[in-house]
Protein backbone atom coordinates (compact mmCIF):
# COMPACT_ATOMS: atom_id res chain seq x y z
CA UNK A 1 0.00 0.00 0.00
CA UNK A 2 2.95 2.27 0.61
CA UNK A 3 5.89 2.02 -1.74
CA UNK A 4 9.28 3.69 -1.55
CA UNK A 5 11.32 3.29 -4.71
CA UNK A 6 15.05 4.13 -4.50
CA UNK A 7 14.25 7.10 -2.32
CA UNK A 8 16.88 9.56 -1.15
CA UNK A 9 16.50 12.40 1.34
CA UNK A 10 18.56 15.32 2.50
CA UNK A 11 17.65 18.16 4.90
CA UNK A 12 19.91 20.47 2.96
CA UNK A 13 23.35 19.37 4.09
CA UNK A 14 24.68 15.98 3.03
CA UNK A 15 22.39 13.10 2.15
CA UNK A 16 20.75 11.52 5.17
CA UNK A 17 19.18 8.59 3.34
CA UNK A 18 20.09 7.14 -0.05
CA UNK A 19 18.58 4.53 -2.33
CA UNK A 20 15.93 3.29 0.05
CA UNK A 21 13.33 0.88 -1.26
CA UNK A 22 10.54 -0.35 0.95
CA UNK A 23 7.14 -1.90 0.38
CA UNK A 24 4.49 -1.94 3.07
CA UNK A 25 2.05 -4.60 1.89
CA UNK A 26 -1.26 -5.41 3.62
CA UNK A 27 -0.63 -7.67 6.57
CA UNK A 28 3.11 -6.91 6.75
CA UNK A 29 4.85 -6.02 10.02
CA UNK A 30 8.11 -4.10 10.02
CA UNK A 31 10.38 -2.86 12.76
CA UNK A 32 12.84 -0.08 12.05
CA UNK A 33 15.97 0.35 14.13
CA UNK A 34 19.16 2.29 13.89
CA UNK A 35 21.30 4.60 15.99
CA UNK A 36 19.90 7.90 17.22
CA UNK A 37 20.03 10.45 14.44
CA UNK A 38 20.35 7.84 11.68
CA UNK A 39 17.08 8.93 10.06
CA UNK A 40 14.36 6.64 11.38
CA UNK A 41 11.89 9.44 11.99
CA UNK A 42 12.80 10.91 8.62
CA UNK A 43 12.08 7.63 6.87
CA UNK A 44 8.71 7.31 8.61
CA UNK A 45 7.82 10.85 7.57
CA UNK A 46 8.62 9.93 3.98
CA UNK A 47 6.27 6.96 4.32
CA UNK A 48 3.29 9.03 5.40
CA UNK A 49 3.93 11.91 3.08
CA UNK A 50 5.05 14.53 5.63
CA UNK A 51 8.28 14.93 3.68
CA UNK A 52 8.85 14.86 -0.07
CA UNK A 53 11.78 12.68 -1.13
CA UNK A 54 14.64 14.56 -2.73
CA UNK A 55 15.23 11.58 -4.99
CA UNK A 56 13.23 8.53 -5.98
CA UNK A 57 9.50 8.02 -5.78
CA UNK A 58 7.00 7.47 -2.99
CA UNK A 59 3.53 6.17 -3.73
CA UNK A 60 0.68 6.04 -1.25
CA UNK A 61 -2.10 3.61 -2.14
CA UNK A 62 -0.83 3.47 -5.73
CA UNK A 63 -0.86 7.27 -6.13
CA UNK A 64 2.37 9.15 -6.74
CA UNK A 65 2.99 11.43 -3.76
CA UNK A 66 4.16 14.26 -6.03
CA UNK A 67 0.86 14.32 -7.87
CA UNK A 68 -1.36 14.59 -4.81
CA UNK A 69 -2.83 17.97 -3.99
CA UNK A 70 -3.36 19.05 -0.39
CA UNK A 71 -6.93 17.80 -0.15
CA UNK A 72 -6.07 14.39 -1.56
CA UNK A 73 -3.15 14.30 0.85
CA UNK A 74 -5.55 14.88 3.76
CA UNK A 75 -7.71 11.99 2.60
CA UNK A 76 -4.63 9.74 2.41
CA UNK A 77 -3.71 10.68 5.96
CA UNK A 78 -7.01 9.31 7.15
CA UNK A 79 -5.97 5.89 5.89
CA UNK A 80 -2.65 6.04 7.74
CA UNK A 81 -2.51 6.04 11.54
CA UNK A 82 0.59 7.85 12.79
CA UNK A 83 2.17 7.94 16.25
CA UNK A 84 4.63 10.81 16.42
CA UNK A 85 7.79 10.59 18.49
CA UNK A 86 6.75 13.75 20.36
CA UNK A 87 3.07 13.07 20.80
CA UNK A 88 1.10 16.24 20.25
CA UNK A 89 -2.50 16.88 21.15
CA UNK A 90 -5.05 19.65 21.21
CA UNK A 91 -4.35 20.87 24.71
CA UNK A 92 -7.77 22.44 25.19
CA UNK A 93 -9.79 19.28 24.51
CA UNK A 94 -10.20 16.38 26.95
CA UNK A 95 -8.35 13.19 26.20
CA UNK A 96 -11.38 11.32 24.84
CA UNK A 97 -12.04 14.09 22.30
CA UNK A 98 -8.39 14.02 21.33
CA UNK A 99 -8.45 10.29 20.71
CA UNK A 100 -11.65 10.68 18.71
CA UNK A 101 -10.25 13.60 16.71
CA UNK A 102 -9.70 11.62 13.49
CA UNK A 103 -13.40 10.74 13.56
CA UNK A 104 -14.31 14.38 14.12
CA UNK A 105 -12.30 15.83 11.26
CA UNK A 106 -13.46 13.16 8.83
CA UNK A 107 -17.06 14.01 9.71
CA UNK A 108 -17.94 10.60 11.15
CA UNK A 109 -20.60 10.33 13.78
CA UNK A 110 -18.85 9.85 17.06
CA UNK A 111 -21.91 8.38 18.71
CA UNK A 112 -21.69 5.37 16.41
CA UNK A 113 -18.09 4.77 17.43
CA UNK A 114 -18.60 5.38 21.13
CA UNK A 115 -18.30 1.74 22.07
CA UNK A 116 -15.23 1.31 19.96
CA UNK A 117 -13.67 4.35 21.63
CA UNK A 118 -14.33 3.25 25.18
CA UNK A 119 -13.05 -0.25 24.45
CA UNK A 120 -9.87 1.17 22.97
CA UNK A 121 -9.31 3.50 25.94
CA UNK A 122 -9.81 0.57 28.22
CA UNK A 123 -7.16 -1.40 26.40
CA UNK A 124 -4.51 1.30 26.62
CA UNK A 125 -5.44 1.85 30.27
CA UNK A 126 -6.74 5.42 29.94
CA UNK A 127 -10.42 5.00 30.83
CA UNK A 128 -9.90 6.73 34.16
CA UNK A 129 -8.23 9.71 32.47
CA UNK A 130 -10.83 10.26 29.72
CA UNK A 131 -11.70 13.77 30.92
CA UNK A 132 -8.15 14.90 31.66
CA UNK A 133 -6.56 17.53 29.45
CA UNK A 134 -3.43 16.39 27.60
CA UNK A 135 -1.02 18.58 29.63
CA UNK A 136 -2.21 16.74 32.74
CA UNK A 137 -1.07 13.36 31.42
CA UNK A 138 2.10 11.53 32.29
CA UNK A 139 4.65 10.77 29.57
CA UNK A 140 3.52 7.18 29.22
CA UNK A 141 -0.13 8.14 29.17
CA UNK A 142 0.55 10.49 26.28
CA UNK A 143 2.22 7.77 24.28
CA UNK A 144 -0.65 5.41 24.85
CA UNK A 145 -3.13 8.10 23.89
CA UNK A 146 -1.19 8.80 20.70
CA UNK A 147 -1.36 5.14 19.77
CA UNK A 148 -5.07 5.02 20.50
CA UNK A 149 -5.63 8.07 18.31
CA UNK A 150 -3.61 6.47 15.52
CA UNK A 151 -5.74 3.32 15.40
CA UNK A 152 -9.23 4.71 16.17
CA UNK A 153 -10.11 5.04 12.48
CA UNK A 154 -8.98 1.47 11.85
CA UNK A 155 -6.56 2.73 9.18
CA UNK A 156 -4.98 0.54 6.51
CA UNK A 157 -1.46 1.39 7.62
CA UNK A 158 -0.12 2.12 11.11
CA UNK A 159 3.16 3.93 11.47
CA UNK A 160 4.53 4.40 14.98
CA UNK A 161 7.70 6.22 16.05
CA UNK A 162 9.02 4.88 19.38
CA UNK A 163 5.55 4.12 20.74
CA UNK A 164 6.95 2.49 23.86
CA UNK A 165 9.81 4.84 24.76
CA UNK A 166 8.14 6.04 27.96
CA UNK A 167 6.09 3.07 29.15
CA UNK A 168 7.06 0.19 31.36
CA UNK A 169 7.62 -3.34 30.13
CA UNK A 170 4.17 -4.60 30.97
CA UNK A 171 2.41 -1.77 29.16
CA UNK A 172 4.68 -2.07 26.15
CA UNK A 173 3.54 -5.71 25.87
CA UNK A 174 -0.08 -4.58 25.88
CA UNK A 175 0.58 -2.02 23.16
CA UNK A 176 2.42 -4.62 21.12
CA UNK A 177 -0.52 -6.98 21.43
CA UNK A 178 -2.80 -4.23 20.08
CA UNK A 179 -0.53 -3.71 17.08
CA UNK A 180 -0.26 -7.43 16.42
CA UNK A 181 -4.02 -7.80 16.55
CA UNK A 182 -4.47 -5.01 14.04
CA UNK A 183 -1.80 -6.58 11.87
CA UNK A 184 -3.67 -9.89 11.90
CA UNK A 185 -6.71 -7.96 10.59
CA UNK A 186 -4.62 -7.18 7.51
CA UNK A 187 -3.23 -3.77 8.39
CA UNK A 188 0.35 -2.94 7.49
CA UNK A 189 2.39 -1.95 10.55
CA UNK A 190 5.70 -0.11 10.69
CA UNK A 191 7.27 0.60 14.08
CA UNK A 192 10.50 2.45 14.77
CA UNK A 193 11.98 1.35 18.07
CA UNK A 194 15.18 1.12 20.09
CA UNK A 195 13.72 -1.47 22.36
CA UNK A 196 15.42 -4.72 21.33
CA UNK A 197 13.60 -6.72 23.98
CA UNK A 198 10.26 -5.57 22.54
CA UNK A 199 11.33 -6.54 19.03
CA UNK A 200 12.39 -9.97 20.19
CA UNK A 201 9.06 -10.43 21.94
CA UNK A 202 7.22 -9.41 18.78
CA UNK A 203 9.14 -11.80 16.59
CA UNK A 204 7.95 -14.66 18.70
CA UNK A 205 4.32 -13.74 18.03
CA UNK A 206 4.21 -12.47 14.47
CA UNK A 207 6.23 -12.70 11.33
CA UNK A 208 8.00 -9.35 11.53
CA UNK A 209 10.86 -8.10 9.43
CA UNK A 210 13.43 -5.99 11.25
CA UNK A 211 15.05 -3.27 9.20
CA UNK A 212 18.05 -1.25 10.19
CA UNK A 213 19.30 2.09 8.93
CA UNK A 214 23.03 1.94 8.73
CA UNK A 215 25.29 4.24 6.81
CA UNK A 216 22.34 5.90 5.06
CA UNK A 217 21.05 2.60 3.69
CA UNK A 218 18.27 0.34 4.76
CA UNK A 219 19.30 -3.25 5.58
CA UNK A 220 17.69 -6.32 7.01
CA UNK A 221 18.89 -6.65 10.60
CA UNK A 222 21.14 -9.55 11.59
CA UNK A 223 19.99 -12.89 12.86
CA UNK A 224 20.34 -11.76 16.49
CA UNK A 225 16.96 -10.06 16.15
Amino acid sequence: MINLDSVGYSYGGGDLLTDISLRLAPGSFHFLTGPSGSGKTTLLKLCYGALMPTRGQVSLFDADLRKLDRDQMALMRRRIGVVHQDCRFLDHLPLSDNIALPLTVSGRDRALEAENLSELMQWVGLSARADALPPELSGGERQRAALARAVIMSPDVIIADEPTGNVDWEMSQRLLTLLIELNRMGKAVLVASHDLALIRAAKSQVQARVLRISNRHLQLAGADL
Binding site: D71, L75, R77, R78, H84, T104
Partner: protein, 299 residues
Protein backbone atom coordinates in the same frame (compact mmCIF):
# COMPACT_ATOMS: atom_id res chain seq x y z
CA UNK B 1 -14.35 30.24 -2.32
CA UNK B 2 -17.27 28.32 -3.64
CA UNK B 3 -20.91 28.84 -2.71
CA UNK B 4 -20.67 25.60 -0.74
CA UNK B 5 -17.91 27.03 1.39
CA UNK B 6 -19.97 30.07 2.20
CA UNK B 7 -22.99 27.97 3.04
CA UNK B 8 -20.86 25.73 5.23
CA UNK B 9 -19.43 28.80 6.88
CA UNK B 10 -22.79 30.33 7.65
CA UNK B 11 -24.48 27.14 8.75
CA UNK B 12 -21.48 26.33 10.84
CA UNK B 13 -20.10 23.13 12.24
CA UNK B 14 -19.99 23.00 16.00
CA UNK B 15 -17.36 20.27 15.96
CA UNK B 16 -15.07 22.17 13.62
CA UNK B 17 -15.28 25.26 15.78
CA UNK B 18 -14.18 23.34 18.85
CA UNK B 19 -10.87 22.16 17.45
CA UNK B 20 -9.45 25.68 17.72
CA UNK B 21 -8.70 26.77 21.30
CA UNK B 22 -11.53 29.05 22.36
CA UNK B 23 -9.82 31.98 23.97
CA UNK B 24 -6.44 33.50 24.40
CA UNK B 25 -5.17 37.00 24.17
CA UNK B 26 -5.36 37.22 20.41
CA UNK B 27 -9.12 36.76 20.85
CA UNK B 28 -9.36 39.70 23.22
CA UNK B 29 -7.06 41.63 20.97
CA UNK B 30 -9.31 41.10 17.99
CA UNK B 31 -12.39 42.01 19.97
CA UNK B 32 -10.79 45.10 21.37
CA UNK B 33 -9.12 46.26 18.18
CA UNK B 34 -12.32 46.01 16.18
CA UNK B 35 -14.28 47.63 18.99
CA UNK B 36 -11.89 50.56 19.32
CA UNK B 37 -11.66 51.01 15.59
CA UNK B 38 -15.44 50.95 15.18
CA UNK B 39 -15.73 53.51 17.95
CA UNK B 40 -13.23 55.83 16.30
CA UNK B 41 -14.83 55.21 12.93
CA UNK B 42 -18.18 56.41 14.25
CA UNK B 43 -16.59 59.63 15.44
CA UNK B 44 -14.73 60.17 12.20
CA UNK B 45 -17.92 59.48 10.29
CA UNK B 46 -19.83 62.00 12.40
CA UNK B 47 -17.11 64.57 11.84
CA UNK B 48 -17.11 63.91 8.13
CA UNK B 49 -20.90 64.29 7.87
CA UNK B 50 -20.92 67.44 9.97
CA UNK B 51 -18.16 69.10 8.02
CA UNK B 52 -19.88 68.06 4.83
CA UNK B 53 -23.08 69.78 5.94
CA UNK B 54 -21.04 72.78 7.00
CA UNK B 55 -19.32 73.02 3.64
CA UNK B 56 -22.66 72.73 1.84
CA UNK B 57 -24.28 75.41 3.92
CA UNK B 58 -21.40 77.81 3.64
CA UNK B 59 -21.17 77.16 -0.04
CA UNK B 60 -24.85 77.95 -0.53
CA UNK B 61 -24.51 81.18 1.47
CA UNK B 62 -21.55 82.08 -0.68
CA UNK B 63 -23.72 81.66 -3.76
CA UNK B 64 -25.62 84.94 -3.15
CA UNK B 65 -22.69 86.92 -2.03
CA UNK B 66 -21.99 89.85 -4.32
CA UNK B 67 -23.73 93.22 -4.34
CA UNK B 68 -23.64 95.92 -6.98
CA UNK B 69 -24.20 99.47 -5.70
CA UNK B 70 -25.36 102.20 -8.07
CA UNK B 71 -24.47 105.64 -6.75
CA UNK B 72 -26.13 108.06 -9.12
CA UNK B 73 -28.31 111.15 -9.05
CA UNK B 74 -31.96 110.24 -8.67
CA UNK B 75 -32.81 110.98 -12.30
CA UNK B 76 -30.13 108.71 -13.74
CA UNK B 77 -30.58 105.93 -11.24
CA UNK B 78 -33.13 103.85 -13.14
CA UNK B 79 -31.24 104.09 -16.41
CA UNK B 80 -27.94 103.10 -14.86
CA UNK B 81 -29.62 100.29 -12.93
CA UNK B 82 -31.05 98.84 -16.12
CA UNK B 83 -27.75 99.19 -17.91
CA UNK B 84 -25.99 97.40 -15.06
CA UNK B 85 -28.58 94.61 -15.04
CA UNK B 86 -28.09 94.13 -18.78
CA UNK B 87 -24.35 93.85 -18.38
CA UNK B 88 -24.67 91.47 -15.47
CA UNK B 89 -27.00 89.20 -17.38
CA UNK B 90 -24.50 89.03 -20.20
CA UNK B 91 -21.59 88.24 -17.89
CA UNK B 92 -20.61 84.59 -17.86
CA UNK B 93 -20.52 83.11 -14.37
CA UNK B 94 -23.49 85.07 -13.07
CA UNK B 95 -26.66 83.06 -12.53
CA UNK B 96 -28.99 85.98 -11.90
CA UNK B 97 -29.06 89.65 -10.97
CA UNK B 98 -31.92 91.50 -9.37
CA UNK B 99 -32.46 95.08 -8.24
CA UNK B 100 -33.64 95.30 -4.65
CA UNK B 101 -36.96 96.96 -4.03
CA UNK B 102 -37.20 100.07 -1.82
CA UNK B 103 -38.64 97.99 1.02
CA UNK B 104 -35.79 95.52 0.88
CA UNK B 105 -33.29 98.34 0.97
CA UNK B 106 -35.02 99.94 3.92
CA UNK B 107 -34.97 96.62 5.76
CA UNK B 108 -31.25 96.28 5.14
CA UNK B 109 -30.61 99.76 6.46
CA UNK B 110 -32.96 99.40 9.42
CA UNK B 111 -30.22 98.37 11.83
CA UNK B 112 -28.57 101.67 11.11
CA UNK B 113 -31.34 104.14 10.89
CA UNK B 114 -34.31 102.37 12.36
CA UNK B 115 -37.29 101.06 10.47
CA UNK B 116 -38.76 104.44 9.53
CA UNK B 117 -36.08 105.60 7.18
CA UNK B 118 -37.29 107.63 4.17
CA UNK B 119 -35.19 105.85 1.59
CA UNK B 120 -36.62 107.86 -1.29
CA UNK B 121 -35.57 111.20 0.13
CA UNK B 122 -32.05 110.14 0.91
CA UNK B 123 -29.22 109.69 -1.54
CA UNK B 124 -29.32 105.96 -0.85
CA UNK B 125 -27.76 104.00 -3.68
CA UNK B 126 -29.67 101.33 -5.56
CA UNK B 127 -28.49 97.79 -4.66
CA UNK B 128 -28.42 94.87 -7.08
CA UNK B 129 -28.11 91.34 -5.74
CA UNK B 130 -25.77 89.26 -7.89
CA UNK B 131 -26.00 85.45 -7.69
CA UNK B 132 -23.01 83.58 -9.02
CA UNK B 133 -23.26 80.23 -10.68
CA UNK B 134 -20.96 77.37 -9.82
CA UNK B 135 -18.06 78.52 -11.92
CA UNK B 136 -18.12 82.09 -10.72
CA UNK B 137 -17.39 85.29 -12.60
CA UNK B 138 -14.27 87.33 -13.04
CA UNK B 139 -14.65 90.39 -10.75
CA UNK B 140 -11.81 92.38 -12.36
CA UNK B 141 -13.25 92.02 -15.87
CA UNK B 142 -16.73 92.90 -14.68
CA UNK B 143 -15.49 96.01 -12.87
CA UNK B 144 -13.70 97.18 -16.01
CA UNK B 145 -16.79 96.82 -18.13
CA UNK B 146 -19.03 98.48 -15.54
CA UNK B 147 -16.72 101.45 -15.09
CA UNK B 148 -16.97 102.08 -18.83
CA UNK B 149 -20.73 101.77 -19.18
CA UNK B 150 -22.23 102.44 -15.73
CA UNK B 151 -20.01 105.05 -14.10
CA UNK B 152 -21.90 105.00 -10.76
CA UNK B 153 -21.65 101.23 -10.23
CA UNK B 154 -19.50 99.81 -7.47
CA UNK B 155 -19.10 96.03 -7.29
CA UNK B 156 -18.87 94.80 -3.75
CA UNK B 157 -17.90 91.15 -3.54
CA UNK B 158 -16.80 91.41 0.10
CA UNK B 159 -18.74 88.28 0.90
CA UNK B 160 -16.03 86.35 -0.87
CA UNK B 161 -14.34 86.20 2.51
CA UNK B 162 -16.51 83.20 3.10
CA UNK B 163 -14.69 81.24 0.43
CA UNK B 164 -11.83 80.19 2.75
CA UNK B 165 -14.46 78.97 5.20
CA UNK B 166 -15.90 76.64 2.60
CA UNK B 167 -12.40 75.51 1.69
CA UNK B 168 -11.70 74.82 5.33
CA UNK B 169 -14.91 72.87 5.80
CA UNK B 170 -14.20 70.91 2.66
CA UNK B 171 -10.73 70.05 3.81
CA UNK B 172 -12.14 69.12 7.22
CA UNK B 173 -14.47 66.72 5.47
CA UNK B 174 -11.59 65.33 3.47
CA UNK B 175 -9.59 64.90 6.66
CA UNK B 176 -12.46 63.05 8.29
CA UNK B 177 -12.90 60.77 5.28
CA UNK B 178 -9.17 60.09 5.22
CA UNK B 179 -9.45 59.22 8.91
CA UNK B 180 -12.28 56.78 8.21
CA UNK B 181 -10.14 55.10 5.56
CA UNK B 182 -7.11 55.09 7.86
CA UNK B 183 -9.16 53.56 10.64
CA UNK B 184 -10.55 50.89 8.33
CA UNK B 185 -7.03 50.17 7.09
CA UNK B 186 -5.66 50.01 10.62
CA UNK B 187 -8.45 47.66 11.61
CA UNK B 188 -7.82 45.38 8.65
CA UNK B 189 -4.10 45.34 9.36
CA UNK B 190 -4.59 44.68 13.05
CA UNK B 191 -7.04 41.86 12.48
CA UNK B 192 -4.71 40.33 9.90
CA UNK B 193 -1.85 40.54 12.36
CA UNK B 194 -3.96 39.18 15.20
CA UNK B 195 -5.15 36.32 12.99
CA UNK B 196 -1.57 35.60 12.03
CA UNK B 197 -0.50 35.70 15.66
CA UNK B 198 -3.30 33.28 16.51
CA UNK B 199 -2.31 30.98 13.68
CA UNK B 200 1.32 31.11 14.76
CA UNK B 201 0.38 30.44 18.38
CA UNK B 202 -1.78 27.52 17.29
CA UNK B 203 0.88 25.95 15.12
CA UNK B 204 0.63 22.77 17.15
CA UNK B 205 -3.13 22.66 16.68
CA UNK B 206 -2.67 22.93 12.94
CA UNK B 207 -0.02 20.21 12.93
CA UNK B 208 -2.21 17.86 14.93
CA UNK B 209 -5.19 18.48 12.67
CA UNK B 210 -3.04 17.87 9.59
CA UNK B 211 -1.74 14.68 11.10
CA UNK B 212 -5.20 13.24 11.62
CA UNK B 213 -6.27 14.10 8.09
CA UNK B 214 -8.10 17.41 8.36
CA UNK B 215 -8.37 19.34 5.11
CA UNK B 216 -6.98 22.84 4.81
CA UNK B 217 -10.46 24.19 4.35
CA UNK B 218 -11.65 22.62 7.57
CA UNK B 219 -8.78 24.15 9.53
CA UNK B 220 -8.98 27.56 7.87
CA UNK B 221 -12.71 27.71 8.41
CA UNK B 222 -12.44 27.10 12.14
CA UNK B 223 -10.11 30.10 12.47
CA UNK B 224 -11.92 32.31 9.99
CA UNK B 225 -15.28 31.85 11.64
CA UNK B 226 -13.94 32.63 15.07
CA UNK B 227 -12.22 35.82 13.92
CA UNK B 228 -15.16 36.99 11.85
CA UNK B 229 -17.52 36.56 14.76
CA UNK B 230 -15.15 38.33 17.11
CA UNK B 231 -14.70 41.24 14.73
CA UNK B 232 -18.46 41.46 14.27
CA UNK B 233 -19.12 41.48 18.00
CA UNK B 234 -16.26 43.85 18.77
CA UNK B 235 -17.24 46.27 16.02
CA UNK B 236 -20.88 46.07 17.08
CA UNK B 237 -20.09 47.00 20.66
CA UNK B 238 -17.66 49.72 19.56
CA UNK B 239 -20.21 51.11 17.13
CA UNK B 240 -22.94 51.29 19.77
CA UNK B 241 -20.54 52.97 22.19
CA UNK B 242 -19.47 55.39 19.48
CA UNK B 243 -23.04 56.31 18.58
CA UNK B 244 -23.87 56.84 22.23
CA UNK B 245 -20.76 59.00 22.55
CA UNK B 246 -21.77 61.12 19.57
CA UNK B 247 -25.33 61.42 20.86
CA UNK B 248 -24.02 62.65 24.19
CA UNK B 249 -21.87 65.36 22.58
CA UNK B 250 -23.24 68.84 23.30
CA UNK B 251 -25.12 69.71 20.14
CA UNK B 252 -24.33 73.11 18.71
CA UNK B 253 -27.59 75.02 18.87
CA UNK B 254 -29.19 75.74 15.55
CA UNK B 255 -29.87 79.42 16.14
CA UNK B 256 -26.59 80.45 14.55
CA UNK B 257 -27.44 78.25 11.64
CA UNK B 258 -23.85 78.61 10.65
CA UNK B 259 -22.19 75.59 12.15
CA UNK B 260 -24.39 72.53 12.42
CA UNK B 261 -24.07 70.03 15.24
CA UNK B 262 -21.31 67.44 15.18
CA UNK B 263 -23.69 64.51 15.46
CA UNK B 264 -25.69 62.62 12.93
CA UNK B 265 -28.95 63.97 11.58
CA UNK B 266 -32.03 62.12 10.43
CA UNK B 267 -31.30 59.00 8.44
CA UNK B 268 -27.54 59.40 8.76
CA UNK B 269 -27.98 57.87 12.21
CA UNK B 270 -28.30 54.60 10.29
CA UNK B 271 -24.92 54.99 8.64
CA UNK B 272 -22.87 53.58 11.58
CA UNK B 273 -24.86 50.35 11.22
CA UNK B 274 -22.69 49.64 8.21
CA UNK B 275 -19.57 49.48 10.36
CA UNK B 276 -19.97 46.07 12.08
CA UNK B 277 -20.73 44.11 8.89
CA UNK B 278 -17.89 45.90 7.16
CA UNK B 279 -15.58 45.05 10.07
CA UNK B 280 -16.69 41.42 9.90
CA UNK B 281 -16.08 41.37 6.17
CA UNK B 282 -12.62 42.82 6.65
CA UNK B 283 -11.92 40.22 9.35
CA UNK B 284 -13.25 37.44 7.15
CA UNK B 285 -11.03 38.36 4.23
CA UNK B 286 -8.01 39.07 6.42
CA UNK B 287 -8.25 35.77 8.30
CA UNK B 288 -9.03 33.78 5.19
CA UNK B 289 -6.01 35.20 3.48
CA UNK B 290 -3.78 34.71 6.53
CA UNK B 291 -4.98 31.15 7.10
CA UNK B 292 -4.55 30.07 3.50
CA UNK B 293 -1.09 31.58 3.34
CA UNK B 294 -0.01 30.07 6.62
CA UNK B 295 -1.43 26.65 5.82
CA UNK B 296 0.44 26.80 2.54
CA UNK B 297 3.68 27.56 4.40
CA UNK B 298 3.47 24.70 6.89
CA UNK B 299 4.28 21.67 4.80
Amino acid sequence: MSAGTIRGFLLGDAQAARVVPPSGFTANLTLFASGAMAFLAVFALALSLASGRLADRWASELARSATLRINAPLDQRTAQTNAALTILRQTPGIASARALSAEEQAALLAPWFGADLPVDTLPVPQLIEVVEDEIGYDPAGLRLRLSAEVPGAILDDHSRWRKPLVDAATSLRRLALVSVLLIAGAMAAMITLAANAALAANRQVIEVLRLVGARDRYIAQAFVRRFTLRALIGAGVGMVAGVLGVALLPAASDEGGFLTGLGFQGTTWLLPLVIPPLGALVAFLATWYAARRRLGELS
